[in-house]
C-alpha cells in the first residue's frame, strides 16, 4: 500500500505543497493561470497546530467514512491506486462526507470541475493520474524538506523503525542540527506565550 506520509517535524510551513496542488489541479497547469482564480482547487492545507505545522489532506482511508456516507454514489475508490475519488457530476453537495471525515479534508466550492454553476465537494485525489503513471503526487514532489513522503508503507515503516531502534539499541540519534533544534524550541515557547501559557 502506497501512502503520503507526513514527517511533521520536518514541515517548515513554506506552503510549496499548497501551490503545487493548485497548479496541478488548475486546467492551465500553470501558476499564473491559477493566480487569482477563485475556482482554483487546493486540496492540501498547511495548518498551524500550536508550534507545529502540518500539511493536511485526504488520508485516503480504507474503509473510508466519506465513501460510505455519500448518498449519491459520488465517492469511489480506485482499486489500483487506493485513491478515494470524488465525481463532482454526481455530488449533491449534501456535506455528509465532510461531516464524517475525521480530518476535515473535504471542502465545498464551485471548482473548475463543477458543472452547472454550483458548489460541489472537492478533495485530494492523490494525483491519481500521476501516480498511475508511476509518478508521485504534486505536493510530495514540491516538498523541499522531506516532510511529505510518498511510498510503500512497509518500506517507510521499516526505515522509520530502524531509525528509532538505532536510538534505543545503539544510542545513535538521528538528531536535528543543533541550531534547527534551537529554532524549534524557540518557536514552541513563542507559541506558548502567545496562547498565554507562560
Amino acid at each position: 500500500m502506497k501512502k503520503v506520509f507526513v514527517d511533521y517535524k520536518k514541515c517548515l510551513a513554506c506552503k510549496s505543497c499548497e501551490t503545487a496542488c493548485a497548479v496541478e489541479q488548475h486546467p492551465s497547469h500553470t501558476l499564473f493561470g491559477a493566480l487569482g482564480d477563485t475556482r482554483t482547487q487546493i486540496n492540501v492545507r498547511v495548518l498551524g497546530v500550536e508550534h507545529e505545522a502540518f500539511p493536511l489532506s485526504c488520508r485516503h482511508c480504507d474503509p473510508a467514512d466519506c465513501l460510505d456516507a455519500c448518498p449519491s454514489g459520488a465517492i469511489s475508490r480506485d482499486e489500483g491506486s487506493g485513491a478515494v475519488l470524488l465525481n463532482p457530476d454526481l455530488c449533491k453537495a449534501c456535506a455528509m462526507c465532510a461531516m464524517v471525515c475525521p480530518f476535515d479534508a473535504i471542502a465545498f466550492k464551485q471548482t473548475h470541475r463543477a458543472r452547472y454553476g454550483r458548489d460541489v465537494a472537492y478533495k485530494c485525489d492523490l494525483c491519481n493520474d500521476r501516480i498511475k503513471k508511476g509518478g508521485t503526487p504534486a505536493c510530495v514532489e514540491a516538498c523541499h524538506s522531506g516532510a511529505l513522503v510518498y511510498g510503500d508503507f512497509d518500506r517507510i515503516r521499516g526505515d522509520r523503525a530502524v531509525s528509532g531502534l538505532k536510538c534505543y539499541l545503539l544510542g545513535k540519534h538521528d538528531a536535528l542540527p543543533p541550531l534547527v533544534e534551537l529554532f524549534r524550541e524557540l518557536r514552541r515557547k513563542e507559541c506558548l506565550r502567545r496562547r498565554g501559557g507562560e
Binding site: K10, L12, A13, C14, K15, V46, L47, G48, E52, A53, H144, S145, G146, L176, P177, L179, V180, L182, F183, L186, R187, K189, E190, R193, R194, R195, G196
Partner: protein
C-alpha cells in the same frame, strides 16, 4: 495586566492601556497586528531561518535545514552564503533608512544656511559650534550661517564622496582607539587572507550600494566578507547617517533638554482636537507642534468647539518632539492602531518608517484623518498632503486645519480613552548628561570605577508582535537597574519604559542601592531617555566620550546593548554598529540567521575577538539581565575594577 480597569491579563501586551483597548478591539472585531499575526500562522521557517534566496530568477532556492535535501541553491550558494547575503541586505536597508533621514536634515541645514529656506532657523548655535569644532571647521569670526553651510557640506560629503578615506563624521567622532582598532583589523585581515576587507565606511550611500552590488547574483559568497561589509555599512549609519540626523536636527530644532512629560494613551483629551504625529522625521512633526500654538489655529479649534489642539507623539517622531517640545507621548509602535481605536484621534500625521499600512483602513472606520506627507511613504486609503520643507509653515497649518475639521465629526459614543499615563523625566542627551555631571564624564567614570554603578546598558528597539508588548522592555529594564546598572536608551523601548513609569523619579526606589544613591543626588531617574532611534548615535557619542576620557577602546568599557523586542531592518543596522563599535548586543527575537551555522558562529562568537562586540540571543528577560551583567562584570574584571 490591566491595573486599573478590567484586571485582565493579556498575552498581547503588558501595557494596561493596551489591554483595555484590545478588549474593545476584540468586541468590535477590529483587525489588529495581533489578529493578522494569527492569520499568518504557520509562518514559513525558511524565511525565519534565513535560508530562502530570492535574489535571481533561477530561484527561489531554499536549503533543507535537516541536511537531507538540497544543500546549495541553483548557483551553488550554501546556506551560510544565503543567510549572510540576506542579513547584509537587511542592514543595508536599515542603514539607508536612518541615513536618508539624515540626508534630508543635512539638505535642510544647507538650505537654511544659504537662506533658501526661511521656515526653519539655526536654533542651537552652541551645538552648531560644537559640531563644527569637532569636524575641524573654523568658527572664529565667521557667521553662523557660514559655519552651518560648511557643516552641511561636510555632512553631505559623507554621503556622496568617492574616495576611499573613512567619512569625516566617523573620523572625528569615533574615539581614537576604536578607529585605530578597526584600521588595524583591516590590515590584519588583508595580511592573513590576502584579500581586502573593509570595516571603516568610505561613504554612507556607497556602503549600502556596495552591499546591493556584492549580494547581486554571482558576487560575494564568503560569509565573513559579507558580515564585514554588513558591519561597515552599519557603522556608516551609526557614526554617519544617524549621527548626522541627530546633530543637524539639534542644530535646527534645538538640542533636547531635561523635561517632564506624560506618556500613554491617557494624553489624548476628550475636549481637544487630538493630533497624533507618527513616524520618524521631526522636520515636519516639530513644525506641527509649533503651528498648533499659533493664535489662528487656536481660534479655529475653539470655533470648532474644542478646548485646544493637543499634539501628541507616537513612535520616534513622537520621541523627537517629546524631547524638544515636551508634548505628551501616546505610545510606541504597537500603540498606533490602539490610538485610532480610542475614537478620539482627529488626525494622525505620518512621515516615514514603521507606519502600518493597516492604519488607513482602520482610520476609515472612524472620523480620523489619516494623513501621509512623504513621497517615500504613500499609503492607499490615506489623505496625502505633500510636505515641502520650504513651505513647512503653510503645510503644517493646512494639516492642522484638516484635523480641526474632523473634530466635529467625532462619534461621542465610540470614544474611549484609557485613563493611563505615567510621568517621565526625559531629554538625557549627551550634552544634558555631561551638564548634570558638571561638564565632564569624570564623575560618572568614578562611580563606575567605585562600583556604585556597575556599568551602563543601552537598550533600543521596537515592539514586536511575537513578544508581549513592552513586557521584555519592562522586565529587563527593571532587572538591570536593580543590579546597579544604569539603563540608557532610545526608540520604542524608551516609550515603553516611560509608560511603565521607569523614567519617573519614583523609579529610583526600584534601583539597587548604589544606582539609587546616584540618581537621588543628581535628581534623575535610573532609566534615561536619549531620544529616537537615530539618536542611538547619542549613545555612541557618550560611549566615545567615556572611552576618550580614559584613553581606552569602547570594547573595554563595561557597556552592553540590547534590542529586546526588535522588528525592523533598522534594528539590524543598529545592532551591527553597536557590535562594530565594540559593544556586545542582546537580541530577541532571533534574527533570521540560524539556518547558517557559520554565520551564527561568526556573529555570536568570532566577532568577539575581531570587534570586541558580538551578538547573543536570549528569550528570558531575567536570564538576559544575568548575561548582560556578566558582560559588564567580565569587562570590569579585565579593567581591574
Amino acid at each position: 495586566m490591566c491595573e486599573v480597569g478590567c484586571g485582565k491579563h493579556d498575552h498581547r501586551s503588558a501595557d494596561p492601556a493596551a489591554v483595555e483597548m484590545l478588549a474593545i478591539a476584540d468586541r468590535e472585531q477590529y483587525a489588529t497586528q495581533w489578529s493578522r499575526y494569527e492569520q499568518q500562522q504557520p509562518q514559513c521557517s525558511y524565511g525565519q531561518l534565513g535560508t530562502c534566496c530570492r535574489i535571481c530568477s533561477m530561484g527561489p532556492c531554499r536549503i533543507d535545514p535537516f541536511g537531507n535535501g538540497p544543500t546549495q541553491g541553483v548557483c551553488g550558494a550554501t546556506a551560510d552564503t544565503i543567510v549572510a547575503r540576506n542579513l547584509a541586505r537587511m542592514a543595508a536597508v536599515g542603514s539607508s533608512s536612518h541615513s536618508d533621514h539624515g540626508r534630508k536634515a543635512a539638505l535642510l541645514l544647507k538650505a537654511v544656511a544659504t537662506g533658501a529656506n526661511t521656515n526653519y532657523r539655526l536654533t542651537d548655535t552652541v551645538k552648531l559650534t560644537a559640531v563644527a569644532d569637532r569636524l575641524g571647521i573654523a568658527t572664529d569670526g565667521r557667521s553662523f550661517p557660514e559655519v552651518a553651510g560648511d557643516v552641511a557640506d561636510a555632512a553631505l560629503n559623507c554621503f556622496g564622496k568617492q574616495d576611499d578615506e573613512p567619512i569625516i563624521f566617523l573620523q572625528k567622532f569615533m574615539p581614537k582607539r576604536r578607529y585605530e582598532h578597526l584600521k588595524k583589523m583591516e590590515q590584519t585581515l588583508l595580511e592573513s587572507t590576502g584579500a581586502t576587507t573593509g570595516l571603516l565606511p568610505r561613504g554612507i550611500d556607497r556602503e549600502a550600494v556596495d552591499i546591493l552590488h556584492r549580494t547581486h547574483f554571482g558576487c560575494d559568497a564568503d560569509p565573513l566578507s559579507l558580515i564585514a561589509q554588513t558591519i561597515r555599512c552599519s557603522l556608516a549609519d551609526g557614526w554617519g547617517g544617524s549621527l548626522i540626523a541627530t546633530s543637524v536636527q539639534d542644530i535646527l530644532l534645538g538640542t533636547p533638554t531635561i523635561k517632564s512629560i506624560q506618556a500613554n494613551l491617557g494624553v489624548l483629551e476628550v475636549e481637544s482636537v487630538n493630533v497624533v504625529v507618527h513616524g520618524h522625521e521631526p522636520i515636519l512633526s516639530a513644525k506641527i507642534v509649533e503651528m498648533a500654538q499659533e493664535p489662528e489655529i487656536r481660534l479655529l479649534a475653539v470655533a470648532a468647539g474644542a478646548k485646544r489642539v493637543n499634539v501628541v507623539g507616537l513612535c520616534c517622531t513622537g520621541n523627537e518632539v517629546l524631547l524638544r517640545q515636551g508634548v505628551g507621548m501616546a505610545g510606541n509602535e504597537a500603540h498606533s492602531e490602539l490610538a485610532i481605536m480610542t475614537g478620539a484621534v482627529d488626525a494622525m500625521i505620518v512621515d516615514v518608517q514603521c507606519i502600518y499600512p493597516a492604519l488607513a483602513d482602520l482610520a476609515s472606520c472612524f472620523h480620523t484623518r489619516f494623513i501621509t506627507t512623504s513621497d517615500q511613504a504613500k499609503i492607499p486609503g490615506a489623505i496625502h498632503i505633500q510636505f515641502h520643507e520650504d513651505q513647512a509653515d503653510t503645510i503644517s497649518r493646512t494639516i492642522l486645519k484638516e484635523a480641526i475639521a474632523a473634530f466635529p465629526r467625532r462619534n461621542p459614543a465610540r470614544i474611549h480613552i484609557p485613563h493611563h499615563t505615567a510621568t517621565a523625566i526625559v531629554g538625557f542627551t549627551v550634552e544634558e548628561i555631561l551638564k548634570a555631571l558638571g561638564g565632564t564624564p569624570a564623575p560618572l567614570i568614578d562611580l563606575i570605577v567605585k562600583g556604585t554603578i556597575k556599568g551602563v546598558a543601552g537598550i533600543v528597539g521596537c515592539n514586536n508582535v511575537k513578544v508581549q508588548q513592552d513586557s521584555f522592555h519592562r522586565t529587563l529594564t527593571t532587572e538591570l537597574i536593580k543590579r546597579d546598572i544604569l539603563v540608557i536608551g532610545t526608540g520604542c523601548w524608551a516609550v515603553g519604559a516611560a509608560k511603565a513609569g521607569l523614567m519617573d523619579l519614583s523609579a529610583q526606589e526600584l534601583a539597587g542601592d548604589g544606582l539609587k544613591s546616584v540618581c537621588t543626588s543628581l535628581g534623575i531617574p535610573p532609566v534615561l531617555h536619549m531620544g529616537s532611534c537615530v539618536d542611538c548615535s547619542r549613545m555612541l557619542v557618550l560611549a566615545g566620550a567615556i572611552a576618550e576620557h580614559l584613553d581606552v577602546d569602547i570594547s573595554q568599557l563595561p557597556l552592553v546593548g540590547s534590542a529586546p523586542e526588535w522588528t525592523t531592518e533598522k534594528a539590524v543596522a543598529i545592532g551591527a554598529y553597536f557590535v562594530g563599535s565594540g559593544i556586545p548586543v542582546h537580541l530577541w527575537p532571533v534574527p533570521p540567521i540560524l539556518g547558517g551555522a557559520a554565520v551564527t558562529r561568526i556573529l555570536t562568537q568570532d566577532a568577539k575577538e575581531v570587534l570586541g562586540g558580538y551578538f547573543f540571543v536570549e528569550e528570558d528577560p531575567i536570564i538576559t539581565a544575568d548575561k548582560m551583567e556578566a558582560v559588564i562584570m567580565e569587562r570590569r574584571a579585565a579593567l581591574g575594577i
